[in-house]
């Protein structure tokens, strides 16, 4: 029987914009997979994995000295870095309506902490200043944005109720700040948790934090010590709210700067040379800027850089990002039921929570490093590590969200409940979280080049090894622009799908 509805084309199954966008992203990822190098290159990954697992079950907490130093340094760098970021963030938030301030913050946060560390290493060497600034600068950019958005939400009624002639500063301290305080405090605590992860990773470029000791333990095959280091790190993060008391913050901040470790002398002539010479493109260095030949040489240099390095770097970065994003999506959908009261009992959820806490507390960079030891350099370790870490973060948020869904008394159970009731209800939220993580995944993907995967970071690292800092700066600029591009694309897709636009807790 053909109905009127059929003839008119309505009444046929249709797919929502959210489903079409998801399908498109999966298709892109499958396409990218064709170009991705996902080979396992180590000879015997399984026996190495056995040794690692043996290390995990026999953690060696007797390496007290190394563990203690790693813990203290990691916390100190995070404390000082995040405190500076919060201080400058709240100041910058006051000027966030000014275009250039907003752009500077966007660029500051589009460049990964490790890249900032690599830049400052050139200027200050292995001085504590390098580590502190590497955290403080990108974090200040993020804090400024979030604080500004929070402060903007002060109810207009409260401001209007003030008598005429109240100064902006009084209004700020009496109305806007108190109103936003709880949220700012929570967000800053969350930022500090992220700061601990960033601080740990800074060890991989030589600063005396967790990553340094971890790398040493791994290179010696001392997996028991590595396991103990990581377990200590989880304990610190899990107990954060117990020891990070408002009353103690002042004391911590007073002590932390003195614990940042061996201060090497900063050589200011290095800093000056970096800014005035090293980062100037080679063809223009010491050249007459009115000489057209210098500029044509610069043009050649630019084309060479963009064609031979930036372009392949961008392609690899995008390929890896798209695959990791979709892998994250699938793992998220697998992970969130683990902690949801709708699917598991108390014991099951306990195990689920432990797994997700470990996965989201371990910095992606460290996860990639571990998988690289197992499988050798290819995109596979990066995909698995990024998907596990980000899937655990979003899975945790969605799991909590799913608990709030109220079902009919006669709703389905098990997999039918999952597929027909829970996932469809949360799908918009799920996509919103994913699109927020998209830019973060890309930023992380770029830095993974440092570990030998051919993304933009790889070319930056090579240029650093050759001490060609002009190239480094150009490639960093390309990286930042790529990130800003993804950020704006993500924002456009979110707006197009009408996904909610304010989520702080999944934003790094």
């Amino acid at each position: 029987m053909k109905t009127i509805a059929d003839a008119a084309g309505v009444g046929r199954p249709r797919y929502s914009a959210a489903v079409r966008v998801s399908t498109l992203f999966v298709a892109i990822a499958v396409f990218c997979l064709a170009f991705a190098d996902i080979a396992i290159t180590t000879l015997d990954p399984w026996s190495e994995m056995q040794r690692m697992l043996l290390g995990v079950v026999t953690p060696d907490f007797f390496a007290v000295e190394a563990i203690g130093t790693a813990v203290v340094q990691t916390i100190s760098f995070a404390l000082v870095g995040v405190a500076l970021a919060a201080f400058f963030g709240i100041i910058l938030a006051q000027f966030f309506h000014i275009g250039p301030v907003r752009w500077a913050c966007a660029i500051a946060r589009s460049i990964h902490e490790l890249f900032w560390a690599l830049i400052f290493l050139q200027m200050f060497g292995l001085s504590p200043l390098t580590g502190v600034l590497a955290i403080a600068i990108p974090y200040a950019g993020i804090c400024a944005k979030v604080y500004a958005e929070t402060l903007d939400e002060t109810p207009a009624a409260a401001l209007n109720a003030l008598p005429a002639g109240v100064s902006t500063i009084s209004a700020f301290f009496f109305v806007r700040l108190p109103d936003a305080w709880a949220h700012i405090k929570n967000y800053t605590l969350y930022r500090f948790e992220c700061g601990l992860r960033s601080s740990a990773v800074l060890g991989f470029v030589g600063l005396p934090t967790l990553g340094y000791y971890l790398q040493t333990a791994f290179s010696e095959g001392n997996y028991s010590e590595a396991a103990a280091q990581l377990i200590m790190f989880y304990v610190i993060i899990a107990s954060l709210r117990l020891w990070m008391k408002p009353k103690l913050v002042g004391l911590y901040l007073l002590v932390a700067p003195f614990l940042l470790g061996g201060a090497s002398q900063i050589r200011w002539d290095n800093v000056v040379r970096f800014v005035t010479e090293d980062i100037v493109p080679a063809p223009l260095r010491n050249a007459d800027l009115l000489d057209p030949q210098a500029w044509s040489a610069f043009g050649d240099w630019l084309m060479m850089m963009l064609g031979d390095q930036a372009l392949p770097g961008i392609v690899a970065t995008v390929v890896l990002t798209q695959i990791a994003l979709v892998a994250t999506a699938f793992l998220t959908l697998a992970f969130f039921p683990l902690i949801s009261t709708k699917f598991f009992g108390r014991f099951g959820r306990g195990v689920g929570h432990l797994f997700l806490v470990v996965m989201r507390s371990t910095p992606e960079f460290i996860l990639v490093y571990i998988f690289l030891q197992l499988w050798g350099p290819s995109m596979l370790p990066a995909i698995v590590a990024l998907a596990l870490h980000n899937g655990a973060i979003i899975g945790h948020l969605l799991g909590r969200y799913s608990d709030e869904i109220r079902l009919r008394p006669d709703s389905a159970s098990g997999f039918n409940l999952y597929a027909f009731e829970v996932v469809p209800r949360m799908y918009g939220q799920f996509l919103a979280y994913l699109f927020y993580r998209w830019e973060i995944i890309m930023r992380e993907t770029a830095i993974l080049g440092v570990l030998g995967i051919a993304t933009l970071g790889f070319y930056i690292d090579s240029a650093l090894a050759d001490i060609r800092l002009d190239r480094v700066m150009l490639l960093l600029l390309v990286t930042a622009l790529l990130n800003l591009g993804i950020d704006s694309l993500s924002r456009r897709i979110r707006a197009g799908l009408r996904l909610s636009t304010r989520i702080d807790s999944c934003r790094d």
Partner: protein
């Protein structure tokens, strides 16, 4: 006999809503629960639901649709337990001809034919309520329990909805606030007042005026 309650109390944590309730439900009964809002209709219905969940199709007052899924999918959900998970997933991604053909006539009958593949969240409250009714009908069985199933539907549509419900189910228990509708569809009226059953009688011979007393304000201490 489907259910028999003898001198039972019901309520939520904060205290009793219904006291000393005795009622029996037989196959073929068409019962309307009437009474002021707050008289305990929903509480009684919930108590009946809890005892007959396995065999009853439910029409909750809030239809509990999944707004992001289509009308088709929300109705299909009534039979999730009858198909394999794989077949359910197949229909989720790609609605099957067979299932569409089974659901379409029902949706057309109830006046939502053109909305079959609209997202349920985009429908009006009354339309959503009708989708909830369709889901219960699609689920099938002999018994339907409904809490104000036509509260958001206009009076013309309400009659269609009630017609369809009564055609598809042998036993019908509906909480209703419209006394005229209750009298014209139910064969038995159960009136609730002040947390107790004040009336339980065949509807034949009853008029709206006979039910008026249920809507007089109860004792002050019960308010």
């Amino acid at each position: 006999m489907l259910l028999q309650l003898v001198n039972q109390d019901f309520g939520y944590d904060r205290g009793l809503v219904l006291r000393d309730i005795s009622i029996s439900i037989h196959a073929g009964d068409r019962i309307a629960l009437v009474g002021e809002s707050g008289a305990g209709k929903s509480t009684l219905l919930t108590a009946i639901q809890a005892r007959l969940l396995e065999q009853a199709a439910l029409v909750p007052q809030n239809p509990g649709l999944v707004g992001t899924l289509s009308v088709f999918h929300n109705i299909y959900m009534g039979r999730l337990n009858r198909h394999s998970t794989w077949y359910n997933l197949l229909n989720l991604a790609w609605p099957q001809r067979r299932e569409i053909d089974a659901i379409r006539p029902l949706v057309e009958r109830i006046g939502l034919g053109e909305k079959l593949f609209e997202r349920a969240g985009e429908l009006s409250g009354g339309q959503q309520q009708r989708v909830g009714v369709c889901r219960a009908i699609h689920q099938g069985g002999d018994l339907v329990l409904g809490d104000e199933p036509v509260s958001a539907v206009d009076s013309h549509q309400a009659r269609t909805v009630l017609d369809v419900l009564h055609e598809h189910f042998e036993t019908v228990v509906l909480a209703m606030h419209d006394v005229d509708l209750a009298l014209s569809y139910a064969t038995r009226i159960v009136g609730l007042q002040n947390g107790g059953i004040a009336l339980d009688s065949p509807s034949a011979g009853l008029t709206a005026a006979d039910l008026d007393f249920l809507y007089k304000r109860g004792d002050e201490d019960h308010r």
